[in-house]
């Protein structure tokens, strides 16, 4: 087992750009915290949830799905091949959840009451279920990621102990993730007449879960390849190919699910009527499902790192578009009928960029100070 850390230069031009974005974003965060939601966002009564919920929370949580996908593969299904990418995947998920929680903190009207659901239970509420899952799963991810920390500060015993009990923890994490990913879809079950029929269905929770798995696989693969490129950390091709195969299966299943929902729901014509919603739906499907599916079906592509990187990128974009479609684009029509049109404010965009930059920065920071990428024990 190697404990050496990679020598990573902290202040590359890229990092400086990230830091500038973070500083600019921090101004927007400050604005939101001192002036309130009305001043900082374009949200209104006719459109109470915007970019932060759509991208930072729904997108962010989906992107964090790699954590539970790999954790269950490694710790539950004993696919040891993927152990090398478990740490980055869990770290990504942990950061993803922390950032989603930060986004929620900023998005709710009373940030300092974010703990309320933990105390004031209302089990009928999907939001309560979501909140409890965020709290529990972030904790679980923290535990899952903690060996890196204990290793770094030299508490080998604790590290070993945590790694010993990793399996039940991973099991709990998988359960929470399954529920959490699907319950984010369930959030929208209550708005059958507000969410456009291209996205609304009773199976929203299941769609969210399946697409989260797709997203998780792509995300893990994606960051492995990027880490390989940026941190000069080689990644085994058979891991990538394996992930790509997994992606193929998940994407294939998701494609069938989406087509089934389209046909039994609003009908194919609804996706082709040229409306904004139809175009967004096609974009989501073509970018995130159809093109990746075709590409992944080709074995040559599954064995090309650059091709896989591209497919991963498409899937990530596609699923993020899906989350934005459900939360923003699919809700616009109803708002428009009430004479309101939403587009995010500069502050909202800046805070979102802040989140992305912070995520990348923290990941890099972690890679530099913790043994993230080269854990190849057992």
């Amino acid at each position: 087992m190697s404990t050496e850390r990679h020598e990573i230069k902290m202040f590359t031009p890229m990092t400086i750009v990230l830091l500038l974005v973070i500083i600019a974003g921090a101004v927007s965060v400050y604005k939101r915290m001192t002036l309130g939601l009305g001043a900082a966002t374009n949200l209104a009564d006719d459109f109470p949830w915007g970019l932060w919920i759509g991208f930072d929370v729904l997108g962010g949580v989906a992107m964090a799905a790699g954590g539970f996908v790999i954790a269950s593969a490694v710790y539950l299904l004993n696919m040891k091949k993927y152990k090398p990418i478990a740490r980055p995947a869990i770290l990504t998920a942990f950061l993803g959840y922390l950032l989603a929680a930060t986004a929620i903190f900023l998005d709710i009207g009373h940030p300092f009451r974010i703990w309320h659901p933990a105390v004031m239970w209302q089990i009928n509420s999907i939001m309560f279920i979501v909140a409890i899952h965020v709290i529990l799963y972030t904790t679980v991810l923290g535990i899952e990621a903690s060996p890196m920390f204990f290793e770094r500060i030299g508490l080998k015993g604790v590290q070993k102990f945590v790694e010993k009990v990793m399996m039940p923890i991973a099991l709990f994490g998988t359960l929470l993730s399954t529920l959490h990913q699907s319950s984010l879809g369930a959030v929208y079950l209550i708005v059958p007449d507000k969410l456009h029929p291209l996205w609304y269905s009773q199976t929203l929770p299941f769609s969210f879960l399946v697409s989260a798995i797709m997203m998780g696989l792509s995300m893990v693969s994606f960051e492995s390849i990027l880490s390989a490129k940026f941190f000069k950390h080689p990644v085994k091709m058979d891991i990538l190919s394996g992930l790509a195969r997994g992606s193929l299966i998940a994407t294939g299943f998701y494609f069938l699910l989406k087509i089934f929902l389209l046909v039994t729901g609003p009908g194919i014509a609804a996706a082709l009527d040229g409306s904004m919603e139809a175009r967004m739906y096609l974009l989501e499907m073509v970018v995130g499902v159809i093109v990746p599916l075709i590409m992944l079906a080709i074995p040559a592509i599954r064995s090309s790192m650059n091709s896989i990187l591209f497919v991963n990128f498409l899937v990530i974009c596609g699923i993020v578009i899906n989350r934005l479609n459900v939360s923003v684009f699919g809700m616009l029509r109803h708002a428009k009928e009430r004479g309101f049109s939403y587009s995010p404010s500069v502050n909202e965009v800046m805070v979102t960029l802040f989140m992305i930059a912070l995520g990348i920065f923290l990941f890099k920071f972690a890679v530099k100070f913790f043994n993230v990428l080269s854990c190849e024990d057992a």
Binding site: A44, D45, L77, I129, P192
Partner: protein, 277 residues
């Protein structure tokens, strides 16, 4: 029966088994005086927003955190004859409110007397209620740093004190008809439609909408022409209940699959170790 014509002393009847506050709003009687809009603001001490002259007369144009109820004006012309209709907006106090069901912290509650009320100390501001309400009723204090969700309270405080809700109290024509029983108001609505078949569309808005509401509307025009949304008859919280009800099953499946694979994994691991040794 407590009605607008009853004196305040005899209403609402708290001694009777159970009060179930209800409005029957007959828009054909509304003269657009907006007494309800002002009385509501006065009782609740609500502020105003700066407005501009509104050629439709509706002002503010929509409900907001300072306006729990307003009158919307609809001018129409048909065959050269003009008509002017007035319709009241406000909370419907659903029997099974979506807002209450989605609130993670029980900040919104359906009281036993019928009003859906808000407990501001609990609210963390997730605004799911605003998203979920099929009638788009809850409003947010966007401009504030410690914002509250605002909506009609059915004057719960007045009801408990034996007084009519302020809007009903101020209504000069009996458009807003209070009863302590939804059933009684429903019967009254049906009676009015039966007695004046030409005067009303044969639809009691709120009888079935969203699974039934405490506030019901009668009108001469279909209510979607008076600014009210077409809302399905379904009890909306049922939609999420299906999912929530399925959670134990999900837990079972995931745990079974997880433990199963874990057991297999451990056995394999042990076999590997044995093989190594």
């Amino acid at each position: 029966m407590a009605t607008n014509t009853a004196t305040e002393k005899t209403m609402p009847d708290q001694s009777a088994k159970k009060m179930e506050a209800s409005f029957l709003i007959d828009t054909t009687k509304c003269i657009g005086c907006r007494g309800c809009q002002v009385a509501c603001k006065q009782w609740n001490g609500n502020q105003t927003d700066p407005t501009k002259a509104s050629p439709t007369f509706t002002n503010p144009l929509k409900l907001n955190s300072k306006t729990y109820t307003n009158i919307a004006f609809f001018e129409r012309e048909q065959n050269g004859a003009v008509s002017w209709d007035f319709a009241r907006n406000g909370c419907f106090h659903c029997k099974k409110p979506a807002c209450v069901s989605v609130c993670p912290v029980e900040a919104l509650v359906k009281t036993p007397e019928g009003p859906v009320i808000y407990r501001e100390g609990r609210c963390m501001g997730c605004r799911y209620c605003i998203l979920a309400c099929p009638f788009n009723v809850p409003k947010y204090e966007w401009e504030k740093l410690a914002p509250k969700v605002q909506k009609c309270t059915f004057c719960y405080d007045r009801l408990l004190a034996g007084m009519l809700p302020s809007c009903a109290k101020s209504c000069p024509t009996g458009t807003i008809h209070f009863s302590d029983s939804i059933e009684k108001n429903l019967a009254e609505a049906k009676k009015r439609i039966a007695e004046h078949p030409g005067m009303y569309v044969n639809h009691i808005y709120g009888e079935k909408e969203a699974g039934g509401t405490s506030v019901m509307l009668l009108s001469a025009l279909p209510l979607d022409q008076l600014g009210h949304l077409k809302v399905r008859d379904q009890v909306l919280p049922d939609l999420t209940w299906k999912y929530i009800g399925g959670i134990p099953a999900i837990i079972g499946v995931v745990l079974a699959a997880g433990i199963g694979s874990w057991v297999i994994t451990r056995r394999n691991q042990n076999m590997d170790k044995e093989g190594d040794e």
